[in-house]
Each structure stands twice: as structure tokens, then as C-alpha cells.
């Protein structure tokens, strides 16, 4: 239980932060390249999934241009806005087609299109059965996709993961559109705190960027890190017994993102 810490806060203690530790199924990041497109452009989408319990989940991705409680895509065939993707080593790569239907409403002001991803332990989420049916009822499925949280009805926390990422659609010139930050892990060093490893990363971006660290074993010292010009050190505490997978996510203030995943070197 957590006692109200109204006046009794204590400073942070060294060691892995619980918010960075992944022990279940989690969609860690979804990187759209480019993050902002015109209605005539397609988008490459990388979905990064952490599968700490080895559930080998199945994956669905769909788009929704929100109009109140409904999606503008309700009128288009499911095949042009809903995809089942295969995870390979925790990564699924998709090519989202051009959103030509948005040409009528796109303008210089970026329009956010929601890209939803659901990863489920096989056999748990009924939407997969509905999509795979010999004659799927597209109207019913389209209605379900408009309220994604309802897809989790009756599903336990550890059996599924649901996430949303927004891709921007506009008619702005290319030089004005949002770009993803460039994220590179430079090296690994022994950290100042006991048991810590310092992961040094560099970030290039035209806007302010925040870094997030996650791990399936051990954890990072803080949930977020402010980017330092040049090299930014991230403090990571490895598990003493097992190696895990690490993720570093860079999120730009304008909506761009980048993900690095890997393991500590031997």
C-alpha cells in the first residue's frame, strides 16, 4: 500500500526504477517513417514488442482518423486499414498504404491518424477470430475497432497489450514536416553507481527530445532522461542472473520517435 506522501517524500535511491522494468507483454514503441506524410504517401511502420513471458503473441494493426467516437475509415474496406502482422524477434514491420481518402480534409495543419496495435496471447482476443473468419462481418469489426479498449474485455493484463501511435497527415512542404530523431547507441561503460552500466547515446533532432529506457531484465535508473548535447548517459542496472533485452525510445516534442533495442555486450 502507498501512504499519502504529502510531506514525507524521500530522495531517489540508486537501483533500477520499477517503471522501466518489463515483466509482461508490452508494445514498447511504434516508429512511423516518415512520421508526417501527405495523403499520397505510404508509411513504413516498425512495431517493437517486448515479450518477457514468451507468449509469442499475435498482432493486429489498424488505422483510425478520429471523428468523435467513430473513425473516418468506417466507410473503407477493412483490407485497406487493418493488417495482421507477424512478429520476428519482437519486431513487426508493415507498409501502410497512402491515406488518399484523407486528401479532401488534409491541409497545412497536420491531421493526426491513430495507428492502433494489439498484441495478444494466441487464442485470447476474440477480434482475431472475427478478422480471420471465412466471411468476416466488416461492419461489426469496424465498429469494434472504433473502441479499441473494448477489445480487452475479459482479457487479463498480462495476456494482451494495446497501444496507439499517431501519424500526421498534411499538405505541408517536406521541409516543414515532422522528422524522426536520429538515435544511436555509442558505447557502454561502467557506471558511477554500484552495479550500474552507463549506456551512452547520441540524439540528433531539430526539436526537444526525451529518452525512455526499458528492459526485460533489470532496469534503468530513471524512467526518463533529458537529452544532453553530444552524448547522453543512461544508467542501467543489469539483473545479476539473467540477461535481458534493452530498449531506448527517443520521443520528439513534435511527435517523431526512434527506438533502439539490443542487449548488453558480453
Amino acid at each position: 500500500m502507498r501512504v499519502l506522501p504529502l510531506m514525507l517524500l524521500v530522495g531517489c535511491m540508486p537501483g533500477p526504477n520499477a517503471e522501466t522494468m518489463i515483466d509482461d507483454l508490452r508494445i514498447v514503441g511504434a516508429v512511423a517513417e516518415p512520421p508526417e506524410v501527405t495523403p499520397e504517401d505510404s508509411v513504413s511502420l516498425d512495431v517493437h514488442v517486448a515479450d518477457a513471458q514468451q507468449l509469442q503473441p499475435e498482432l493486429l494493426v489498424w488505422t483510425c482518423t478520429r471523428q468523435g467516437s467513430t473513425c473516418a475509415e468506417r466507410a473503407v474496406p477493412l483490407s485497406s486499414r487493418l493488417w495482421e502482422a507477424e512478429l520476428v524477434d519482437g519486431l513487426a514491420t508493415l507498409q501502410l498504404p497512402a491515406q488518399t481518402a484523407l486528401a479532401a480534409v488534409a491541409g497545412p495543419q497536420p491531421l493526426p491518424v491513430e495507428v492502433w496495435t494489439i498484441a495478444c496471447e494466441p487464442g485470447v482476443c476474440s477480434v482475431f477470430d472475427a478478422v480471420r473468419a471465412a466471411e468476416p462481418d466488416e461492419a461489426v469489426i469496424a465498429e469494434q475497432l472504433e473502441d479499441p479498449s473494448a477489445l480487452l474485455d475479459g482479457v487479463d493484463f498480462e495476456q494482451a497489450a494495446l497501444a496507439v501511435k499517431r501519424v500526421l497527415v498534411s499538405t505541408r512542404p517536406a521541409e516543414e514536416r515532422v522528422q524522426n530523431p536520429l538515435l544511436e547507441v555509442l558505447d557502454f561503460r561502467e557506471g558511477e553507481a554500484e552495479g550500474a552500466t552507463e549506456i551512452r547515446v547520441s540524439v540528433e533532432s531539430s526539436t526537444e527530445v526525451q529518452l525512455y529506457g526499458y528492459a526485460t531484465m533489470g532496469g534503468f535508473g530513471r524512467p526518463t532522461f533529458d537529452v544532453v548535447v553530444g552524448e547522453t548517459p543512461l544508467e542501467y542496472y543489469a539483473d545479476e542472473e539473467q540477461d535481458g533485452e534493452l530498449f531506448v525510445v527517443a520521443v520528439g516534442a513534435d511527435g517523431g520517435s526512434a527506438v533502439w533495442r539490443g542487449t548488453l555486450p558480453e
Binding site: M1, L4, L9, A18, E19, I27, S149, V164
Partner: protein
């Protein structure tokens, strides 16, 4: 609900008896306007003589009394009188005296009691365990009040939300009654003589609210002698001085400041690098009381209150500190009151005015405030004659300038404006006494005008009937309508508000029995019901200042409308015992509160539904100025909405909860034991008092508000404070 209005119990015994008589004066002194008091054991009634020296006192219960006649220019006269049914007229003779100082006697110091009010004497409140000697916190131990989360001082009265109840000083409305987190009331309890709690079905004197009323009643007696004290306790330091300036005038000054921030802030700064700063508050009251035999009583009361809480951090440049999150409330109110007896009538006029401000800041660019400058006036006539009918006639009005800004981009869209409102009201309430029955119909007409063009004029009829058998048993029943206007922002025609809103209202009924069990004890049982209609719902995503923990769960983001309804059904029980050494009571409230938000939606439990609230509290004095007290509380936990699952917003990097059925889960039950010991040392010219109030003595971790881990996977309720040895030291002269 209507069958409850029909009395099923009828007592044919008599009400209290009238006592009348005539005063004559030996010598040259005016026989009119002399004060005649019947002082009994724990009770007092009084009246003034008319031009011919006659007086009449009504509703006097059987028993022994002292009849005391006093006044300007006469020596006092005292007689022993035993009332045992109606008496023959009493003849009293007083002697004129040129050298007698004018003596001012307050007759009917208390506002004529409401049928449903429960009154706590300040002397008894200040030593109750678990309340830090605070008057309004003591009220929370009475039946009809739900237990607020985190003990922060919200008043949850008979199933209504905190914002539906109102607070008054002697019938003049004040904006806030508690400092931050409910540490203490903004009014020093030593300025008060009693606290009246009216859970519902009160008379027409109070309006513009559909919930309950807490009326802090100040002491209108001139002090016999000057006095003062300085005290320090776990949370604050207080100084109080009351000085008799002349036979007719007194002045009191009281100041209080929290000191916990002065102690903790250096500690917190070291631990958190700036971070949270402990809240701080202060209040100041000044009161001038003047009594004139010809012109009546003049009372000027100034109240200043200021609360502040901040979370600080470095600026973007990393050098200076700036407020990351800040919350403050402050108000200054001046209350002027005048009362005078004119024949058989008493006229009371009070005015209260001053600014009140709430503000909120959230770095980097969030800013919100509500500034009200309000002026209120009440003028009321009551007559104290004992005939078949007594009257209360009055008018009260409020004029308000409301200036608001809600500009917190991370929470909601910007709203701002300045509006003026005028809200006059008129009320009339005759009391008809026919032998053993007292019938009190009343009518209150409120009106509301806002410069945006919005107007409303609800009419609230009310009725109370009391049967009394002249001794131990009283039966009371009442019904009434209570209207409450929408908030100013809710009726603006700016795309955010709805100028078509009507006032919300409640139809309240109650029936109860009060049975005296000897001179020191009584038991009271009350059944109450309330039907709420036209409740304003919608726009729960809009920024607002909360009185307690904000709601958590799916929000109604639709436009404001009057679609909300509610039902309250309940039962209250109160056993009281009070003698010279002991004050104790056992209170129980059993209720069910449900609401519907929109047409066609299912009825849900109200977020403050607490089916069972039990409180037992007692305090007793022992030899050598020792006093011991204890309080035991048990209550149902509040409903809450479970989180069924969650999804990740990869752009904001936050988890978003997916809610289960609204308010279907319930926190575990609440239990707490508080114990208090007081010791006073009496010296020649001053007293020293020490108390230790061990709160939550069993150190039970009561879940108060549900919270979750960052990913909503684990429930991590916020619990009440652990065992807390609150202490206080007071030096008084």
C-alpha cells in the same frame, strides 16, 4: 415518500407552559425594556417587559428556575420559581437605582433554533479526541455526515456533494470553512459559542443550497473580564486576546499560523532538492462588539484567511526556482451586524463582504483562478411574543463580481470571463402553536440574475410540524424544497456553458423522534429521504477547483444539462449524554445514495455512498483537572471504479486506464480509535494546559482513495495517516 409526511405517532400531552407576569418599579425608573430571564439547569428563556411592565415567556418546561429581572437604572431582582404547568401571573418589584451601571443582558442570544438543527457547545467540542479542538471537525462526528476521504474536512451531508452544502457565520454565508487538507477551521473556535449543524429540512432562513448547513455562531456576550491565551500544537501556533474596553464594548483579536512548513521545509528541501514545500496557512480575526440599551447591539467581525501550497523546481535554465505546481486560497470578509429589540419584535441586520480568491499554477504555462468579490446583506424581523403565532420575516441578497480564468492546456481548453450576479431572496415563516402542536410553514423565494442574461426564480415552500408531550418525547416531521443555482460559468452563452440550465433542487422529508432519558441523556431517531432533480451534469473534463480528491473514472464530457437525478434514503440515530463532567454521544448513519447522470442511463451508487457510519465519542473530567476522552469510528469504504485493463499512448508515453463498471467496487471498511488526555495546571493569574491526542491509535492503514501503479496493473490505495500523537500546549490568562 409522501406517507412519511403523515404523523403516525400523535402525542396529546402539552407543550411547555407559558410564564407571564408584571414588573413594577419602586422609584423613578423606566419599567419598559427590562430583561426578564428564567434560568434553569442548562436552559434559559427570556423576554423584555413592555411599556406597562408586562412580560410573557412561552414554552417553559417544568422544573425549578431563577427568575431574574435586570435592566438599566434598577437593582436586579431574583425569585425562585417552580414551573409545574401553567402558572398564575408573577408579580415582581424592582427598586430604582441611580448608581446602577447599565447592564446588558442578551436575551435570545441564539437564533431561534431550527427544528432539525443539532448544536454543539464550544466548551464541549474543544476537548473532543481526534478533532484538534476544532469546531467544525467535531461536527463530523454527528449523524447525517459521511466520512470524508483522507479526513480532509469535506462535509458530506445526507448524500449531497461537498459543494452542495453551505457555511455561515451567524447566518451570513462564508466561502470556505477549512484550511487546506482540513487541518483546522478558518474561524478560531474561541470566537464561537456554538456550532449548529443542520443536515436538512431547515427553515427558510437558509437558501441557495440543496445540501446541509453549518452555521458558526459567535459569542454575542460581552466578556465578564479580559482574557487571552497563546497555544502551540502539532500544526499551528495561535494567539487570542479578548479585552473589555468599556461596560458596553469589547474587542477581540485572534491570529493563527501553521508552523509545520517552517519546520519541514528545510528538511524537505534537503531530501527532495526543492520539491514539495509543506502547506502553510494563517488566519486573523478581529471583532468589535458594542451594546447600547437604546440602539441595540453592534457587531463588526473581520476574518482574513490565507492558504498556500507549492511544489517548486528549477527553471529551464536550471538556476532559479519557480513554482511547478501551486495552489492557494484566500479571503477577507468583513461582517457588520446590528440587532435591536423594538417592542415585541427583534430586528437583525447583517452585511458581509469582501474578496475571495482561489488560484492554481502548473508550470510551464498553466494558470487558473477564481476571484469573487461578494457583498451580502440580510434583514430579518422576528417577534418573541408567546401568542399563537410568531413570525420570521426576512430578506437577503448577494451581489457578486466573479472573475475567472481556466487556462491549463494540459487539462482543458481555455475559459475566462467576468460576470456580475445579483441574487435577492425573500422569506416568511410563521410559527403556529396550538397547545401541543407547533406548525411551521415557510416560503422562500429566491431569484438570480446574471449579466449574461440568465435569470431564475425558484420558489421553495417548506413545512415542519412538531408534537411535544410536555416532557420527554417530541415527534418532528418536515418536508421542503431546496433550490441551488448553477455556477456562473455553467450558464454563460459562450459555447462552453448552457444558458438554458434551471436551478437544481431537492425535495427533502424527514420524520424523527426525540426521547429524553432523564436530565442528562436523550436519544433521537430520524428517517430522512431526499429526491434530487435537475442536477447539473456534464463537462467533467473542464478544469475546476476540487474540494477533495478529484474523481477518477470515465468522465461525462457532454454539454452541461439538467439531466441528473438522485435519491437519498437514510436513517440516523443519536444517543447523547451530557452532565457536568461528561460529554458523550453515539451516532449512527445508515443510508443509500444513488444518482443517474443522463436520461436513459442506469442508476449508480453516488461516489460518496457510505451505507454505515458509526461514531462513538466521549470525554470526561477527573479530579485535579485531568480529562480523558476517546473516539471510535467505523464506516463503509467509498465506492470506486476499478481499472479493468489499460493501453499505452506511445506519443505521451503514458498508460491510459480502461475502466470497469462505474463505482461498483468499494474500498475496505474504515476503523479508527483516537484517545486524548488533557491536564490543566492552575496558577494564580494564569492556567497552563497540555493535551496529547493520539489519533489512529491502532495504527490501522485505512484505504482512503484508490490509486494505481504507473501501469494500472496494481491497486495501490492511498491510506490514512498512521498513528499520530498530536499534542498541544496552551497558556491562558
Amino acid at each position: 415518500m409522501l406517507p412519511w409526511l403523515l404523523p403516525t405517532l400523535v402525542s396529546t400531552a402539552l407543550a411547555g407552559s407559558p410564564v407571564s407576569g408584571e414588573v413594577s418599579v419602586l422609584g423613578d425608573a423606566d419599567v419598559a425594556g427590562l430583561a426578564v430571564r428564567l434560568v434553569g439547569d442548562g436552559s434559559e428563556v427570556g423576554a423584555f417587559t413592555d411599556e406597562e411592565g408586562r412580560f410573557e415567556l412561552s414554552d417553559v418546561e417544568d422544573g425549578p428556575y431563577m427568575l431574574i429581572v435586570t435592566g438599566a437604572g434598577v437593582y436586579s431582582a431574583v425569585l425562585d420559581v417552580v414551573v409545574d404547568g401553567p402558572l398564575d401571573p408573577i408579580e415582581v418589584t424592582v427598586e430604582a437605582a441611580d448608581d446602577v451601571e447599565q447592564e446588558f443582558v442578551v436575551i435570545g442570544q441564539r437564533t431561534p433554533p431550527e427544528i432539525t438543527e443539532r448544536v454543539l457547545d464550544i466548551k464541549d467540542i474543544q476537548v473532543l479526541p481526534g478533532t484538534n479542538g476544532d469546531a467544525v471537525r467535531a461536527v463530523q462526528n454527528l449523524p447525517g455526515i459521511g466520512r470524508p476521504p483522507l479526513n480532509i474536512g469535506q462535509l458530506l451531508i445526507r448524500g449531497t456533494a461537498p459543494e452542495d452544502s453551505a457555511y455561515y457565520i451567524d447566518g451570513a454565508r462564508i466561502p470556505l470553512v477549512f484550511h487546506f487538507a482540513g487541518f483546522s477551521t478558518v474561524i478560531n473556535s474561541d470566537s464561537l459559542v456554538e456550532v449548529a449543524f443542520l443536515p436538512g429540512n431547515y427553515g427558510v432562513r437558509y437558501g441557495r443550497t440543496q445540501g446541509g448547513v453549518v452555521d458558526l455562531r459567535t459569542n454575542r456576550q460581552l466578556p465578564d473580564e479580559s482574557r487571552g491565551y497563546v497555544s502551540v500544537d502539532l500544526f499551528q501556533a495561535t494567539a487570542f486576546v479578548e479585552q473589555r474596553l468599556s461596560p458596553k464594548t469589547s474587542l477581540s483579536i485572534s491570529g493563527r499560523r501553521s508552523w509545520v512548513d517552517a519546520v519541514l521545509n528545510p528538511v524537505l528541501k534537503g531530501a527532495t532538492g526543492g520539491g514539495i514545500q509543506a502547506p502553510r496557512y494563517y488566519d486573523l480575526q478581529t471583532r468589535l462588539l458594542h451594546k447600547s440599551s437604546a440602539l441595540g447591539t453592534f457587531d463588526a467581525f473581520l476574518v482574513v484567511s490565507d492558504d498556500r501550497f507549492r511544489f517548486v523546481g528549477p527553471t529551464e535554465e536550471g538556476e532559479e526556482e519557480e513554482t511547478q505546481i501551486g495552489l492557494s486560497t484566500n479571503f477577507q470578509k468583513l461582517r457588520l451586524a446590528h440587532s435591536v429589540g423594538i417592542g415585541r419584535w427583534r430586528a437583525e441586520t447583517s452585511m458581509i463582504g469582501g474578496p475571495e480568491v482561489q488560484s492554481f499554477a502548473l508550470a510551464p504555462n498553466g494558470n487558473a483562478y477564481e476571484r469573487r468579490t461578494q457583498f451580502g446583506v440580510r434583514h430579518e424581523w422576528t417577534n418573541e411574543s408567546s401568542g399563537y403565532v410568531t413570525w420570521r420575516l426576512g430578506a437577503d441578497a448577494q451581489v457578486t463580481r466573479f472573475d475567472f480564468l481556466y487556462d491549463v492546456p494540459s487539462i482543458s481548453t481555455k475559459e475566462e470571463g467576468v460576470v456580475w450576479t445579483v441574487a435577492p431572496a425573500f422569506y416568511v415563516e410563521p410559527t403556529l402553536e396550538v397547545e401541543w402542536v407547533k406548525i411551521i410553514p415557510g416560503l422562500r423565494v429566491d431569484s438570480f440574475w446574471q449579466d449574461s442574461g440568465y435569470t431564475a426564480m425558484p420558489v421553495d415552500p417548506r413545512l415542519a410540524v412538531v408534537y411535544n408531550d410536555g416532557g420527554a418525547t417530541s415527534v418532528k416531521t418536515s418536508v421542503g424544497r431546496y433550490s441551488q443555482f448553477p455556477l456562473e460559468r455553467q450558464v454563460l452563452d459562450n459555447g462552453e456553458g448552457n444558458p438554458e440550465l434551471s436551478p437544481s433542487w431537492s425535495l427533502q422529508t424527514s420524520v424523527g423522534v426525540v426521547q429524553k432519558l432523564g436530565p442528562d441523556a436523550s436519544i433521537e431517531l430520524t428517517r430522512f429521504d431526499s429526491m434530487l432533480r435537475n442536477q447539473v451534469v456534464g463537462r467533467e473534463d473542464a478544469f475546476r477547483f476540487y474540494t477533495g480528491p478529484p474523481e477518477f473514472g470515465p468522465l461525462d464530457t457532454g454539454a452541461y444539462s439538467n439531466e441528473g437525478t438522485g435519491y437519498v434514503q437514510g436513517f440516523e440515530a443519536l444517543f447523547k449524554y451530557n452532565d457536568e463532567k461528561t460529554t458523550a454521544w453515539v451516532a449512527g448513519t445508515f443510508s443509500r445514495l444513488t444518482r443517474t447522470k443522463r436520461y436513459g442511463t442506469e442508476r449508480e451508487l453516488f461516489r460518496y455512498d457510505q451505507p454505515i457510519v458509526l461514531t462513538a465519542v466521549g470525554s470526561r473530567t477527573f479530579p485535579k483537572n485531568w480529562r480523558l476522552g476517546a473516539r471510535v469510528r467505523f464506516g463503509s469504504g467509498n465506492p470506486y471504479t476499478e481499472v479493468a485493463n489499460r493501453f499505452a499512448d506511445l506519443d505521451s508515453r503514458q498508460f491510459v486506464p480502461v475502466f470497469g463498471p462505474i463505482d461498483e467496487a468499494r474500498l475496505p471498511a474504515f476503523f479508527s480509535l483516537d484517545m486524548r488526555v488533557d491536564k490543566t495546571w492552575e496558577f494564580r493569574k494564569w492556567d497552563l494546559s497540555l493535551y496529547v491526542d493520539l489519533q489512529n491509535a491502532t495504527n490501522r492503514a485505512n484505504p482512503e482513495v484508490m490509486a494505481w501503479s504507473y501501469d494500472y496493473e496494481q491497486e495501490e490505495p492511498i491510506t490514512s495517516i498512521p498513528v499520530l500523537p498530536a499534542f498541544g500546549l496552551k497558556g491562558a490568562w
